[in-house]
Each structure stands twice: as structure tokens, then as C-alpha cells.
């Protein structure tokens, strides 16, 4: 994948959280914010959320669904699903290394 989430600065964490949130199913902005607050324990601001969301959409990692009741749900694309898979694998490797070293020291 040529998309490097970590290059998105302030939006990289939000982008990752959005991908995880949408892995559960399509959501509109408010549902994403609530879901992220629940599973990650962080509140993402609306400006940051949409900054990340627009970037994800431009890269084809998420796609918009038709608007219902003024709110527009988004869903993961297959490319987005692949990227999330890669990101999680990378993070798992780092977590494993960290834990090993902590346990050994």
C-alpha cells in the first residue's frame, strides 16, 4: 500500500481510529465519534474527524453512501480493509517486541 497513515500528522491517529470504527460497519460522523470514544477512550473533534475522513476518501480507503436525514454514512472499501489489516499487523509486531523487552529487562 502506498498510503502511509503516519504521514498525515495530526490526522493519522484519527484516520486509524476511523478505519477501525468502520470495520464494524458503515457509520455517519456522529456514530464514528461515539464509537471511537467507546472503544478507544478518546474524543475526536469534528474538525479532526472530517480532516481524516476526507483524506481517507480521497485515497479510496472509504467511500460515501447516499445521505439519509442530512447525515452521510461512510464505509470501508476493500483497499481500506487491506490497509487496516496491514496497519494492525505492523502495530502487533511492535507491541510484541515492546512486551518481550519489558518482560526480559
Amino acid at each position: 500500500m502506498d498510503v502511509e497513515l503516519s504521514e498525515w500528522g495530526r490526522f493519522s491517529e484519527a484516520a486509524f481510529l476511523i478505519l477501525v470504527s468502520l470495520a464494524e460497519g458503515a457509520k455517519h460522523g456522529y456514530a464514528m465519534m461515539e464509537d471511537i470514544a467507546t472503544f478507544a477512550g478518546v474524543r475526536v473533534g469534528a474538525g479532526t474527524l472530517y480532516g481524516a475522513l476526507t483524506r481517507l476518501e480521497e485515497r479510496g480507503l472509504v467511500e460515501a453512501l447516499p445521505t439519509t436525514d442530512r447525515r452521510r454514512p461512510y464505509q470501508l472499501t476493500s483497499a481500506g480493509r487491506r490497509l487496516l489489516h496491514e496497519q494492525l499487523a505492523r502495530m502487533e509486531a511492535r507491541v510484541a517486541t515492546g512486551r518481550q523487552r519489558l518482560a526480559a529487562s
Partner: protein
Amino acid sequence: MNLRTARLLLRLYPRAWRERYGEEFAALLAQQPLTWEGVLDIGRGAFDARQRATRRNGQLAKPHVATNGKRKEQTMGRRQRTFNCSFCGKNQHQTQRLIAGPNGVYICDECILLCYDILTQEVHPGQGAETGREARHARVPWWRRLGVRWQFDRGAPQPL
């Protein structure tokens, strides 16, 4: 916050962004309390959107609306793209010609002529008629050397 406040905050974002995301974003804001952190966050988001719009030169991705097997729904309608001169910011409707360069760079006819003026002007302050130009052009005032065409500048060379 109420929808009216949400729409006010939305105006911080550039027009193209508002056309694409405005409705859903305003709806999202209206569902939240108005806080200073929230306003700051929106301000930062708007700043970021403006920076990206400048780089992207007025274009915005068309919504990738999923079809789910049905006919593609045109929810936003077709938006006309605007391109902006990288020098003065005017778009193709505000200038006569807009010429495209590489990597999303554009230049308009007015700025090309202004550059031509700058390149052909001889900036020799203190010299009299020896430069070959009319006396009043011999000493170039500091504000003309900035390369900006001022409305009050009667002595500036006329465009071709």
C-alpha cells in the same frame, strides 16, 4: 449547538469543501455542544482544508458513492471545477486566459504581463534620461519594484 451556529462555523471552510461536505458536517456539529475546544478544532480543520485546497488548486474529489448493485445515485450533482492562478489567485472566470503548468500550477494572462513588465523594466534608481526611458520612469518608486500593479500607479507600462 443549533444549526445556525453550525452553519456559521462551517463558513470557515473553503467553498468547494462546503459544497461537498457542508451539509453533513453542519448536521454533525448541530448534534454537539458548543465548546471552545470544539471551535478550535473546527478552526484547525478549516485551516487545513484551505491549505489543501490551495495545493490541489480548487479541485475536490467527487464523492465515491457506493452503488451496492443499484444505479449510482447522483447526490451532489456535477460541480464545475475552478482552477486558480498560482500568482494572484483569480480563477478562470475572473481572467481572460489561464495557462496550466506542471503539478497543478497555473498562471493567468494578467500575471504573465506583469512578469513581462518586471523583466523588461530597467530598475536603475537615480539615473536620469540616460536609461532611454521617459524621465518619469527613470526612477522606479519602491512600491513599483514590488512587482504588484497598483491602481494609483499611472506611470506603469500598459499591457500589450
